[in-house]
Amino acid sequence: MRGLPQLLSRAKRVRVGFSASEPVLAIQAGILQPDKFTQTFVQLRGLQSSNVISQAPLAAVADTDSGKQLRQELETIVGPGNVSSGESVVLQHGQDEGPHQGKSPDIVVFPSSTEEVSEICKICTKHNIPIIPYGTGTGLEGGISAVDGGVCVNVSKNMNKILQIHQEDFSAVVQPGISREMLNQEVRADGLWFPVDPGADASVCGMCATGASGTNAVRYGTMKENCLNLEVVLADGRIIHTAGIGSRPKKSSAGYNLTSLFLGSEGTLGIITSATVCLHAIPESVAAAVVGFPTVQNAVDTVVMTLQCSVPMARMELLDEVQMKACNEYSGLSYPETPHLFLEFHGSESEVESQTETVRDIAADNEGGEFQWAVQQEDRTKLWTARHRAYYADIALRPGCRSLTTDVCVPVSALPDLVTATKADIAEHGLVGPMVGHVGDGNFHTMLLFDPADPEEFRKCKEVANKMARSAIALGGTCTGEHGVGQGKMVLLEEQFGKDGIDVMRQIKGALDPQQLMNPGKVFSRN
């Protein structure tokens, strides 16, 4: 049986240091967001040793003469009420939902139109000030941390309209202030929905910036498959439309695929000021099912076989036995403490019935236990409670602990081995690491719990996380399936792409952002 060491021997060996923001927290529950200002962050700060070389931070922008001039110019563009350097405002705008200690920007501006965003970028370019776009601040990788200070451009507060809904064309055009739940609320009366569901109620444009995904990706795709066009403001203030001005056809062969370029660029190439996204028909019938297995291998085999049978699963989530125990304790449930699959089927009534039958049989063939299923909305909600509250159940396992959450994604055929090897590695290191996975995509998260006051435990978590990412890369996968690179995985990105791959990214960045102002310190290093 292959273990991680053998897998690793195929990976390149590169020195890994702590960068300013390694730990990652996945919020899969998506109901409450953790309180950002807990004591834990203060403790966590002590753990981070920064040996990443970054630019010398800017002098406090607000207090210098040029700072005052900058502020005045910004106020002229957006109005004095829409510029702030208040302590709590900047603090909030530098800190996302992950455990990275974010760095605050110097000034936050709240533009009300694409033209204002363009003018802001021109001013920042003139003064050589970093620009950090901000949507809902629900990211997990420290993507909004202003590592070199600068101007944070909050595009969600005032730019919050749904610009167009095209019911017959199944698309909508939204501004950054529209979150996915807001969009869903608006279109459901038309029998439509927006299926990309990363858990948090994130800004749709923000989801484009990070290339977000979620539990429905196995059937409906990620943001990349659901975005038709983006309006982007570049560092120099130019406004472009990545698929053409006002374009929203289902397909196009016109020019370079700029939409793909900006999707997932994490604010390093431009600011997204509107997104044209795909909508889907609300399924006629939905059924949910939960089934337990003796081992993770059984569960993952079931997943692989189901996909091989081409069953159009809408959701396929794996919760391992550690996670199930946590869920039982937290939500007062009584599932057997074994790995479970949480499934959802979409389609017409007859399609859903036949899909359910097929999967029930496959599960049984793989030693599956009782196959619970439900059709009624309330029953489905109850059935999925365990999965929805998974993250909070994990934190409750060891009160006061934090979680370093991994996010690897591999081809589905490689999943069984990687999951098994990962669990062995977690056990070897003596860690508690419940596992939740969008196994239909070959993507899984382990919540590696650590005591914030114990640097040795944190170091072990880092070791496991990095090993896992390297194994994933070696198996033909990726170091991040959906959370993005932010600051924490920059080194892993280099390993995944090789020097030439990253150099091409650097060249593109250099062409579009020669002054290196757009969200510095993210995705890859300057050189």
């Binding site: 009366a189 029998g191 439509l192 006629e284 909305q377 309330e378």
Partner: protein
Amino acid sequence: MALKVLVGCKRVIDYAVKIRIKPDKLGVVTEGVKHSMNPFDEIAVEEAMRMKERKLVNEIIVVSCGPAQAMETIRTALAMGADRGIHVEIPVDKMDTFQPLHVSKVLAKLAEKEKVDIVMLGKLAIDDDSNQTAQMTASLLDWPQGVFASKIDKTDAGLEIIREVDGGLETIRTTLPAVLSADLRLNEPRYATLPNIMKAKKKKVEKMTPADLGVDMAPRIQIVSVEDPPVREAGQTVADVDDLVAKLKEKGFSSA
């Protein structure tokens, strides 16, 4: 013996909209504002649908009183699965004086005309919060009422209803016909799907006026004024505990 249900649906300002008071302070701005079906009415339609799926009900008639746009609400209910609709047309300028008593009279007349077994309503509408229509309709018809229902079951003799009341849950039994009103936890309504929205366009909707039903529209309630709640004042920072205590005393919060 399958039952016939009349479900009332009201078109209200969407719950997520920020309400603005009209300059004349006699109402709220409705022009150009997003409207949708009253959430409790969605629950009522859903319950009727579930009873139909359990073969307890064989016909669901949805009725809405209002101007032309009330048709949208009826179509939504039809898309959820109701069989046919009745649109009781009220001109826009009469909407301000169209009140729960009028609705009750309309529903009572329709219940008799259509010979229904159950009148199913939402417990209240989120715009006026009146919580009167179901009760008045039952009274006009002299039918039993099961309001704030969180569970409805059929028995041999009629219905068994669990009601949400202040002290907890109350179980009552009524004969049929009866008037029911839906509370929040009765069910989670389904979403209208595209095929059902298409089918709904072909379902029959009858139009009529209150006069056709012999209902007089004279208002019984006069709105005197509508005002915003007081504007939230800025907070005050206090220097230290002594300052805080002094301020509390000043505002009359301390007896010491």
